[in-house]
């Protein structure tokens, strides 16, 4: 097994976890998606020519895998894509208010479409419009339009939650 690939995957596991938690509603689904993403990364690793950053390449493969993955449509979507125990663990050193904010943010993100989730995930990870455009395959202008629309939607969802 290629040591360099394993190093890249373990160093960037936070990225992979964030993608899985954004697109999946339960633990089994997250594990399956994580496995699929790792397999796709492994398959496309030989053709990765370092033309872009490693994280850009990983996001591209991870988002493509998450969106094009064959899955049965769940009849009753969960309210958010992350469980209570996971919220507890990832917010261990945070205040109650911060925990609530993270919880509510995930609830709001869960209401977005797959494309919107991809774009907002990249935006929240501090990618600029040009980088998001390259990963998603649309123009930078359209990225800015989409980001503004998604932020308005998220604000609206969060305001409803806080009411």
């Amino acid at each position: 097994m290629n040591k360099e690939f394993l190093k890249i995957a373990t160093e960037n596991q936070n990225l992979l976890r964030k993608v899985c938690n954004t697109f999946c509603n339960d633990e089994d689904d997250r594990k399956d998606l994580l496995q699929d993403i790792l397999i796709q990364l492994w398959k496309s690793y030989p053709t990765f020519r370092q033309e872009s950053k490693v994280t850009t390449w990983m996001y591209r493969v991870a988002l493509n895998t998450a969106i094009t993955r064959y899955r049965k449509v769940k009849s009753k979507p969960e309210s958010r894509s992350i469980s209570d125990s996971e919220i507890e663990i990832i917010t261990r050193d945070r205040s109650f208010e911060q925990k609530e904010q993270i919880d509510n943010l995930y609830k709001a993100i869960n209401k977005l479409s797959d494309v919107e989730k991809s774009i907002i995930l990249l935006y929240l990870e501090d990618y600029n419009s040009d980088e998001i455009a390259e990963i998603v395959g649309i123009s930078s202008n359209y990225v800015r339009v989409k980001v503004n629309r998604i932020k308005s939607k998220l604000k609206e969802y969060l305001e409803k939650i806080y009411e």
């Binding site: 097994m1 790792l38 261990r92 929240l124």
Partner: protein, 226 residues
């Protein structure tokens, strides 16, 4: 909550905090040996099953051709125009086999690894194209197969009526006007074709219908307004 607050909240999420989520090299190696649920693996599995079914189909049609056209006790020997029917059979069965092989060749030429690290819009377009080709050829194969089956059924009914007419005499045969027989046979044939196509459509929609619609919705969302 303003825009900066969204990012501030998001930056607080850190899965590295917990050992429960730690992904080790051993975990990764184990996962890489597992099965995947991507659409290409699914279609590849269907292609493998298809080859087995195709093999069985070729054996069955070879045996039925041999019996129908190369044995002396076959009922086909009494049918006028049997060589025309043989040609039709070969064309129909040949079409089904060629359709399947055409899809397999086209599918194997696709660089699936390259698709996975293209941009999202290209990836979705490629997957929709593959699935649409698969759907089209799947339907063509079954439609032509259904037409062949019904045609054989109609010929069989005609021959059966001729045999009955010989057995029971011309007077009895006159009770069943030829035109009525043709119409009834045609309607039954139409119903059979409809039934087969409905079943095929139902199963394909069950397997891939919603998935294709979801992908098409994503594709539509990525189309920029002029």
């Amino acid at each position: 909550m303003n825009n900066d607050e969204l990012k501030n909240i998001w930056q607080k999420i850190d899965f590295n905090k917990s050992e429960d989520f730690e992904l080790t090299e051993d975990n990764i190696v184990e996962m890489l040996e597992g099965r995947t649920y991507d659409i290409f693996s699914r279609i590849s599995k269907n292609v493998k099953i298809g080859f087995w079914i195709l093999g069985a189909y070729i054996v069955i049609i070879a045996l039925s051709y041999y019996h129908a056209y190369f044995t002396t006790d076959s009922v086909m020997n009494d049918i006028s125009g049997k060589y025309f029917l043989a040609l039709l059979d070969v064309l129909i069965d040949g079409f089904i086999v060629v359709t399947f092989i055409y899809f397999v060749v086209k599918y194997n030429r696709i660089d699936k690894a390259a698709i996975s690290h293209s941009n999202l819009k290209s990836t979705i377009s490629e997957v929709i194209k593959i699935l649409s080709t698969y759907k089209k050829l799947f339907y063509y194969g079954f439609t032509i197969g259904a037409l062949g089956f019904v045609f054989g059924f109609i010929v069989g009914v005609q021959k059966g009526i001729e045999i009955a007419a010989e057995e029971y005499g011309a007077a009895r045969a006159a009770e069943f006007p030829e035109i009525r027989i043709y119409v009834i046979t045609f309607l039954i044939g139409l119903a059979l074709i409809g039934g087969i196509l409905f079943t095929v459509h139902f199963f394909f929609k069950k397997l891939y219908g919603k998935y294709l619609i979801q992908l098409q919705e994503c594709q539509t969302e990525l189309i920029e307004a002029e």
